[in-house]
Symmetry: C2
Subunit: 238 residues, 2 copies
């Protein structure tokens, strides 16, 4: 398996960064090929702009997705995007590893998605969800956070964390066609003792060891349930 780990934590000595290192080790020991995009270490530019295109389809008015489609066919994406898109298209498994910032990804990772999930290459037209450009690939989201698990149950003060991650799990990964593993949550990390942290890391190791066999995908829409205008089809009565 070819594995791309995209990691976004500002502190190289953080638990999240240790999780990234553990994942590199585990996948390598399993015989997989591994590439890592450590976005902070790369000083990755997260701001989508007209500068992302070496030649513009319309130099006077930038519609970002249209410029993406033009640049894909013309081969004029900026070099940093081409490099990351190459890794994304190369991989069989994408791991997004990050600390929860405001119930979602840190901006540097949001910008990696904004710029690298290129229209025309990863989706486009009616190519989304189970007809997306990245069908056949798997994705795993692994996060750390300060909150405790009971704050995020159906009865928790914030509601399910999975609901907060819907723009990522469904709206981004599912949308482009990934089969999405259930996320891995490292709860309450800044407040854990060393032995509690070691338990979380062991749970992460165990998860990685069995990942290849997992088939319990995160539920996604299927376009078969919708008509050409994307209205839901009425189920036929039996």
């Amino acid at each position: 398996m070819k594995v791309l780990i995209v990691h976004a934590h500002p502190e190289p000595k953080s638990f999240s960064s240790a999780m990234k290192n553990t994942a590199v080790e585990a996948f390598t020991q399993q015989g997989h090929s591994v590439q890592v995009s450590d976005l902070y270490a790369m000083h990755f530019n997260p701001v989508a702009s007209a500068d992302d295109f070496q030649k513009r389809a319309n130099p006077d008015y930038c519609v970002y997705a249209l410029e993406q489609r033009h640049a894909v066919s013309a081969g004029t994406l900026s070099q940093d995007i081409q490099d990351e898109l190459g890794k994304l298209l190369w991989c069989d498994l994408l791991v997004l590893n990050f600390p929860i910032f405001w119930y979602s990804t840190p901006a540097i990772l949001k910008g990696w998605i904004d710029r690298v999930f290129v229209s025309g290459a990863t989706y486009g037209g009616k190519r989304f969800y189970d007809r997306g450009g990245l069908v056949g690939k798997r994705a795993l989201v692994s996060v750390t956070l300060g909150g405790q698990e009971h704050m995020f149950g159906e009865q928790g003060v914030h509601g399910p964390l999975e609901d907060m991650l819907k723009p990522l799990l469904q709206g981004t990964l599912g949308y482009t066609g990934f089969s999405v593993h259930p996320p891995f949550f490292g709860w309450h990390i800044p407040y854990l003792s060393d032995s509690e942290r070691a338990s979380v890391m062991q749970a992460w190791r165990n998860r990685l060891a069995g990942l290849h066999e997992e088939r319990n995908w995160w539920p996604q829409p299927t376009l078969d349930d919708f008509d050409e205008r994307l209205y839901r089809l009425r189920k036929q009565q039996p």
Copy 2:
């Protein structure tokens, strides 16, 4: 009323940018004070990092929220964050105006939130939701997108757009104490005719004209329903 408009679109001639200009005009004509943070025009840095603190509480290991709290009390936040935090604390109404990128904010706006919603100044400890640091302020989210409204109903292929915006409407704005207006959605913008666009802009103008009188807030959790450990309190039987 003091109004802060935070705007994030890479194209100054876009419909989203025109909505920002319309809002500035409308609020000014209503006699309100208006400040604008046009994040692309400002080249705002969206990447939260150790560089955000002029002096570190712990120079060897950066826990971002702890450094924020230290820097608030010591007055050592970086100047760009202090400037934006000053505007945030100044305003009575915050307007976040942006195009939907991957069912959420463009990275440059996500980073404005990551860096400017400072722990210790906007929330902290048990100061969140209806006890948040920004209680008494209002917020309005106004977005443009390519999708059509029927794709986002309960029966739509993507599910309700409000669900996708939960990390922002509840997890960020509600969390810090804002009373949140129902969002304004500019559907299908790139594909509309000029007259259809004019109708959307008129709907936006009408919304702004009546905004001050609106009281139908987006539902948020209240801490009164939870105990000290943030477990939900059982309702007493009548």
